[in-house]
Amino acid sequence: MTSTNHDGLSKDSLACVECDLLMTNTIKLEHGQRLACSRCGHILARGTKDADVTTLALSMTALILLVISVSSSFLAFEASGQSNSISLWTVAHELIQSKFGILAFFIFSFMVLLPALYVICLILITLNQRIKFTTFPSVILAHIINFINPWIMGDVFIVGVLVGLIKVIGKADVSFGISFWSYVIFTFVIIKITQVVDTHQLWAWVDNEHE
């Protein structure tokens, strides 16, 4: 029933990362099913049908949305006859002008650079699953994806923008540009991706590539 590899360990052995409970799993997860630790409830794995194709499609969508976000107008601002339209680059530029370049670096990383790297690595790792040759070793890609995961703050940025705008709304006419909307949709796509690509799924892809 359970096969053992040369370590003498059952191939389906799982240890909960939060409470160290040792479990054996022989069930293949159906779409929507979740595997949880029987002691602490930590969700070890989620089942998604065709996870690699889904992730590939979502990641490509996310990348396109990100490119749109970076290259179009984010907000347009009009007050007392003066009008101004800013892009995400303007935000970074103004921060650098104010001698707060380090802030620009972190903010841009959390909202653009790291999510972009995350999505590109996901595209490559899911491509590895589908095509005959390896674009880039999946192990390295999986490490990068795992590392970047906690640092994606697109959703926090959008909330920050909305809060900031409430402050300005009385004094000026503010309208949202294409970049804003594409970034909002990008945030939702990323949330969906992080649901599908959990640790279990990610490293299952790595295992897959080696077989």
């Binding site: 409470c19 802030l103 795992n146 909330v159 923008v161 809060v163 402050k167």
Partner: protein, 219 residues
């Protein structure tokens, strides 16, 4: 945990003797901290992701506590220095995080005041406090149950990055409001200090190994 109190002449009621829980550690096995694959403890590196294997994250409590203290220290300049400087028709005013909250309350924008208060005061302090509780639970057996502790841990992980809201608010306002001499907004030192608090608490939570808490509970 199995208590043996025979030395005191007490005989343990068999109903109170619990079976030791089957953990990986008891079987001399451990899960890789990166890819979660289970290996025998004797193995040095993970066969799947080449990460170095350890029974528990190395020096988890020391690293977490050090980072937490650093975050607490950085929280002081984050509140003392201004988070942004507003230049309105030649009048420069500096706003700190707390000052900003009071301003919002004064202008009756209670909604934003609550959001900023939650994101910049409650969440960082609650997160640091919660991680202290968790670190002590990993050192000495806690009065809280395993489930309560682990729920606290999950809360901490979930809520971590939301403290960055205030920094993003500053960033967007700086980018938006630059009409030269008439009105301009500049970021303040507190924004960097605050970013560092968020980064330090996220890394502190990452370094923490929750399995240590369960180890103490089982002793």
């Amino acid at each position: 945990m199995i208590h043996t109190s025979y030395g005191h002449g007490l005989i343990m009621n068999t109903n109170e003797v619990k079976e030791p829980v089957l953990t990986a550690a008891r079987n001399n096995m451990t899960a890789c901290s990166v890819c979660h694959k289970v290996h025998p403890v004797a193995q040095k590196s993970c066969t799947r992701c080449s990460n170095s294997l350890r029974l528990r994250k190395s020096n988890s409590i020391q690293h977490s506590l050090a980072l937490l203290f650093a975050a607490l220290i950085m929280y002081i300049p984050a509140n003392l220095y201004p988070i942004m400087t507003t230049n309105l028709l030649g009048v420069t005013s500096e706003t700190t995080i707390l000052g900003g909250i009071f301003l919002f309350i004064k202008h009756e924008s209670y909604g934003i005041a609550i959001i900023i208060f939650l994101a910049s005061v409650v969440i960082p302090l609650a997160k640091i406090g919660a991680l202290f509780v968790l670190c002590f639970a990993a050192l000495k057996r806690s009065k809280l149950s395993g489930l309560e502790l682990i729920k606290l841990y999950r809360m901490v992980e979930l809520v971590g990055k939301w403290s960055m809201v205030d920094v993003f608010v500053v960033a967007i306002l700086v980018g938006l409001v630059q009409l030269g001499k008439i009105t301009s907004i500049e970021p303040g030192t507190a924004s960097i200090a605050f970013t560092s608090v968020v980064i330090l608490t996220i890394v502190a939570a990452q370094r923490f190994d929750p399995r240590l808490m369960w180890d103490r509970l089982e002793e």
